[in-house]
């Protein structure tokens, strides 16, 4: 029995900013203070507020310390844990109001969130199966096996309205029903943990913070469709997630929650991890199945769908990590648990990885139908440095941009598709006026060109040609008719590519062209980049009136492009300038401008 629990975030974000060292320091200082039998240090999953990591939460008070450094630990132990005086300077400032410390749930970041998939992240020790069990873990599997028939399980998932969280949004219950319908000597359950969108880390955080939820859900899926074996396809680039998931699988076996005769029934289920090499195309289900089988990660035509012929030609149900994380709660609490949350056609919540030009970079989970404005301005804390919201990119390289005029759109599957974007797996990148929309489209297209598996021509050649057209525009050589060519090529790639990668690759281009056509036109006609990002279309100039001739810029220029005598205005030689911006940073008089 410990009087205090210290929860230190062990997610990838906080680990990279040193949370392992903080844990060691806590253990050392707690032992030195002689309170190691009263206070326990626990490594937990992601709290979501990654921008303020490393995060340490001290219970029972629930004091939220942010940006903790190793050197702060001694003070927290001596003041807070020994003497009961929280260290105010380290507490998340939104929870400090004068003398009192307010609840974390009242902060702007957490207030409008509803954590279902992330319910245990930051609450339990993911390496301890008994902590998962303490919060009703494996009770859903027990209930399904002992009180429900497979059909009832499927009906429950179907009635809950749960749709695939990987991006497509196919009803999960219907997928399971298809898997159950196809009879075979062997069936498989698989989990897609090949999270590949730049900037997305929802699935990684769930696996790091609550791996047992995925294991339990996969066993439930196995029972529902009649499968005895599961595969988790996860990229080797996620070492912490892989390690914790493997430990969780081992513990589940040890406790008899995987294996034969689970809960004293005839049901048996086991699973293994398959490591992927981190190819974006392997997030596509048929390519993923190819890769699990040991073949090259290339898509296959559908039909046959995986529910008919999946892994090793056997019926396979494949769901995404976040989808699975919802399942135990639905089985335990009934379909109403989910279908009372969200919008008419999109039930439950969605996890988003907030990134880009936003204050609270991190992981958030909101009910479907929450507006983009709530996510960006309230939960996300707005744009840093007083910037203005220009657009948000959802769905990564397969999605599109939502302009500021549509910021009040309630986020759900159908609304996002209607405005030319998509839910995707949940990456949400916020952009302000310093972002060039042509450049952003180019960035995502460069990614798909790189990640195209090369099997079909529209995707392999089409995306490459599309990128060349964008390059032409950003280098100042574009013509107006190129815009029509781009649109035509985009539509061709969408219609003729074999798998989702190619079919969605033009989305970032199409949506920016739709909402920010004037920016494309500015690049083509005026030969200007309004955001000042495209280097070929901008130049640095010294305003002679403001220049004092201090020579600071001249000394900072790495290529010797600036000339001028002391106390006389300087000049930039445009032929030599590499547009690095070093001169702007050194000028104390604001005399250097970008045009």
């Amino acid at each position: 029995m410990f009087r205090s629990h210290i929860m230190v975030c062990g997610g990838t974000g906080c680990t990279s900013s040193g949370s392992k060292k903080i844990i060691e320091a806590f253990n050392k200082e707690i032992a030195a203070a002689g309170i190691n039998e009263e206070v326990k240090v626990i490594q937990t999953g992601c709290f979501g507020l990654c921008a303020l990591g490393p995060i340490v939460v001290v219970y029972p008070e629930g004091i939220f310390y942010s940006m903790v450094e190793e050197k702060d630990v001694k003070e927290i132990v001596e003041e807070h844990l020994v003497k009961g005086r929280p260290v105010t300077r380290l507490i998340y400032d939104e929870t400090v109001q004068g003398e009192t410390i307010t609840s974390l749930n009242d902060t702007r970041f957490y207030k409008k969130q509803q954590r279902i998939a992330l319910r245990n992240c930051g609450r339990i020790d993911p390496d301890n199966i008994e902590e998962y069990i303490a919060y009703d873990g494996y009770a859903a599997l027990g209930k399904a096996l002992t009180e429900m028939t497979p059909d009832e399980v499927i009906k429950c998932v179907l009635d809950s309205g749960l749709r695939g969280r990987g991006g497509g949004g196919f009803p999960t219950g219907r997928k399971w029903a298809l898997g159950a319908m196809n009879h075979a000597d062997q069936k498989y359950v698989a989990c897609n943990a090949d999270e590949g969108d730049p900037g997305a880390f929802m699935d990684r955080s769930i696996l790091e913070g609550d791996p047992h939820a995925v294991i339990e859900a996969m066993a439930i899926a196995g029972y529902a469709i009649g499968a005895t074996k599961g595969f988790v396809y996860i990229r080797a680039e996620y070492p912490i997630a892989v390690e914790r998931l493997q430990r969780a699988i081992d513990q589940a076996r040890e406790y008899g929650l995987l294996g034969k005769n689970i809960f004293g029934t005839d049901f048996e289920f086991d699973m293994e991890i398959k490591l992927g090499a981190g190819a974006f195309v392997c997030g596509e289900e048929t390519a993923l199945i190819n890769s699990i089988e040991g073949n090259r990660g290339e898509p296959k035509p559908r039909p046959p769908f995986p529910a008919q012929k999946g892994i090793f030609g056997k019926p396979t149900v494949l769901n995404n990590v976040e989808t699975y994380a919802n399942i135990p709660q639905i089985i335990l609490n009934g379909p109403e648990f989910l279908n009372t949350i969200g919008t008419e056609k999109s039930k439950g919540t969605k996890v988003f990885a907030l990134g880009g030009k936003i204050n609270n970079t991190g992981l958030v989970e909101v009910p479907m139908g929450t507006t983009l404005r709530t996510v960006v301005e309230e939960i996300g804390g707005g744009i840093p440095n007083g910037g203005t919201f220009k657009a948000a990119q959802t769905g990564g390289p397969s999605g599109g941009c939502i302009p500021a005029s549509l910021i009040d759109t309630p986020i759900d599957y159908d609304n996002l598709v209607a405005i030319g974007s998509m839910m995707g797996s949940g990456g949400l990148i916020v952009m302000d006026e310093t972002t060039c929309m042509v450049d952003i489209a180019k960035f995502f297209l460069e990614f798909t060109v790189e990640e195209s598996c090369g099997k079909c021509t529209p995707c392999r050649v089409g995306t490459k040609r599309l990128l060349e057209l964008l390059d032409k525009i950003t280098s100042g050589n574009g013509e107006l008719e190129d815009l029509d060519k781009i649109e035509k090529l985009c539509n061709f790639i969408k219609e003729d590519s074999q798998c989702g990668l190619g079919q969605c690759a033009p989305n970032p281009v199409l949506s920016t062209l739709k909402y920010f056509r004037d920016e494309y036109v500015a690049h083509v006609v005026d030969k200007k980049c309004p955001a000042g990002v495209c280097k070929d279309l901008m130049q640095y100039k010294i305003v002679a009136d403001k220049c004092k001739g201090c020579t600071a810029c001249k000394r900072a220029c790495p290529v010797g492009a600036i000339s001028g005598n002391v106390k006389e205005p300087h000049v930039i030689d445009q032929a030599k300038c590499i547009k690095c911006g070093a001169c702007v940073a050194t000028c104390k008089f604001g005399a250097i401008i970008k045009e």
């Binding site: 410990f2 009263e38 609840s103």
Partner: protein, 123 residues
């Protein structure tokens, strides 16, 4: 795992150990034990532990057991304050035995144990 009962047993055991400490940050009822040098010297630590153990043992929910610094009445340590909304009850010269009675009669029974309060001692 052979049965639901077996799972339930692990759940109950772990829940008692974790929940009292971790799930009551926003609890309406707060028990705060003075843990300054004076309190610790007078035996506040066993008192704090007794609160936690009794609450976990008896499955009391919605009570946060925390600590604070010097309350300012060092001669009456160990001191614990029970906050319920705007009301505050100050218990003084506590021992683990007295804590058991407070948990049973006050936190569960909702009737303060008057004889252990600062009011009773000062009369």
């Amino acid at each position: 795992m052979k049965s639901l009962q077996e799972l339930q047993a692990i759940r109950d055991k772990m829940k008692a150990n974790i929940s009292t400490t971790r799930d009551n940050a926003d609890a309406k009822v707060r028990v705060v034990v003075g843990m300054a040098t004076c309190g610790i010297a007078a035996g506040a630590r066993p008192v704090l532990n007794a609160f936690n153990e009794e609450i976990a043992k008896r499955g009391v929910e919605g009570v946060m057991v925390g600590q604070t610094g010097c309350i300012g009445i060092c001669q009456y340590e160990p001191v614990a304050e029970v906050f319920e909304g705007d009301t505050k009850t100050t218990y003084v010269k506590l021992t683990p035995e007295k804590v058991e009675k407070i948990v049973v009669e006050h936190l569960i029974g909702k009737t303060p144990v008057t004889e252990f309060t600062i009011g009773a001692i000062q009369k």
